[in-house]
């Protein structure tokens, strides 16, 4: 006894598409790790500097891009300066797109309120280099302008001048940020990651090595709720909810079939 996989695929398509077409709203409960991330950023004083690393590429954009825009909205609403970088070559344009979308809403100017440092290969090397002097890792911004020519970079040299580092990642880059930036330079860290990676980072949160954790599209929706700006992540919650219900129902059906077959064999 089995369900044809084409029927399962069809059900998946229906369950994901319909909630996105028919605008259903669902209450979002804020989980403690996301609340912690929000609180730590919210405590920062205007004019503080945050280093944001968009360490993900297009494949995980549906989960992490709404998180990026939500975090940027929070930062800019608090007049916090943003230094954007990535250890993935194609993470920089994603960060640039998010800044392009959000900065205008808060009348933030490039070079004064935010800067795109760009991409540098060699994750560990870059993280250690920032600890010594940020200009060693990024002598210029992504467009080739020397950092010293940008007003935002005045007095910013290393982790001592950065209030919090936020790593929005799809892989294991957070391990390196924890290992070098946090352990060696005592840099405060907050992480945002895909839902599938979140469980891997709970030990860091529990040990206090990261001060907040935003996990997956659900985490992004929680963050949108906290900043009072529901967006793409919030509107994706019904589709995700019904998808999880479908998986659960199929697992139950699969087990019923399994027990029926087992009894027949006995």
């Amino acid at each position: 006894m089995s369900i044809d996989r084409r029927i399962i695929y069809l059900l998946v398509a229906i369950v994901v598409t319909i909630p996105l077409v028919i605008k259903i709203t669902m209450p979002v409960r804020v989980s403690p790790p996301v609340q912690l991330a929000y609180d730590k950023i919210d405590e920062l004083k205007p004019g503080s500097v945050v280093l944001l690393s968009t360490d993900y590429e297009a494949g995980t954009m549906p989960e992490l891009y709404p998180m990026t825009t939500a975090v940027l909205r929070h930062l800019f609403s608090k007049d916090i300066k943003v230094l954007l970088m990535s250890v993935y070559a194609l993470g920089v344009p994603i960060g640039a797109m998010a800044l392009d979308e959000v900065a205008g809403e808060y009348n933030k100017e490039y070079g004064t309120d935010y800067v795109i440092l760009g991409f540098k290969p060699g994750l560990d090397v870059v993280i250690v280099a920032i600890g010594e002097e940020i200009r060693d890792a990024f002598p210029t911004d992504y467009a080739g302008t020397p950092l010293d020519a940008l007003p935002i970079m005045e007095g910013i040299h290393n982790y001592n001048d950065i209030s919090i580092m936020i790593d929005l990642c799809s892989g294991s880059t957070l391990d390196s940020w924890v290992m070098f930036a946090q352990a060696r330079f005592k840099q405060r860290l907050i992480a945002g990651c895909t839902a599938v990676m979140a469980t891997s980072f709970y030990p860091y949160l529990n040990a206090g090595q990261i001060e907040g954790l935003i996990g997956g599209l659900k985490g992004a929706a929680e963050y949108e709720k906290l900043i009072g700006s529901p967006g793409v992540a919030t509107s994706g919650m019904p589709a995700q909810s019904f998808m999880h219900i479908l998986i659960l129902v199929l697992v139950i059906i699969g087990n019923i079939f399994y027990f029926i077959e087992r009894r027949r064999k006995i």
């Binding site: 209450p27 297009a58 494949g59 344009p93 795109i116 090397v125 250690v128 697992v251």
Partner: protein
Amino acid sequence: MHTIIPLAITFFTSLLIIMGFFIPRAPFSDIQQTMLVWVLIISGFAALLGVDSLLRQHIKKITTRSEGWAYSLVLILTFFIVFGLGVFSGVRYGTAFSLASSFMYAYTYGIIPLQATMFSLLAFFITSAAYRAFKARSIDATFLLVAAALVIIGRVPIGGMLWSKLPVIADWILDWPSMTARRGILLGITLGVIGTSLRIMVGIERSYLR
């Protein structure tokens, strides 16, 4: 002699890098940083070798008309088109990542949708795999199944709508049983890495010399 010299280099360089972690002061931190930069330079050459190997293999497939040669042709053409756009955008706009550049156009309207499509397909495969593989075959498997079901439903808003305690239970599973297991795995992996590194450092593991 041809074995002793590489072993000695391995021992002393690894010792210097380790000392940089335990004594993060000059000169050890500077030496560590310099060596990490060397790793970066060597990795750059490795990337070049990777491109060379990739192109050679696919050009060979095209010339010999091996099975799936058309896909190789698409790969080669796409490689050179994106490479060309990157160079052109770099020259024209100062950086390939300028939002107005042709490279970013290809990225936004080509690479992003393609990668998102590939990633989205996982939803179909995961659902089908969960239906086929997630069976209560034993007591252990039943525990896993129940815990997974609670997390699956408790981590989405509808879980809280069905029963307000479900998200709390899901958080508890992630905070305690899941994290305990994860810590155990992490410790095991780390001890394994330390053991293997020490074996390489002191010259017991020499397979890299072959």
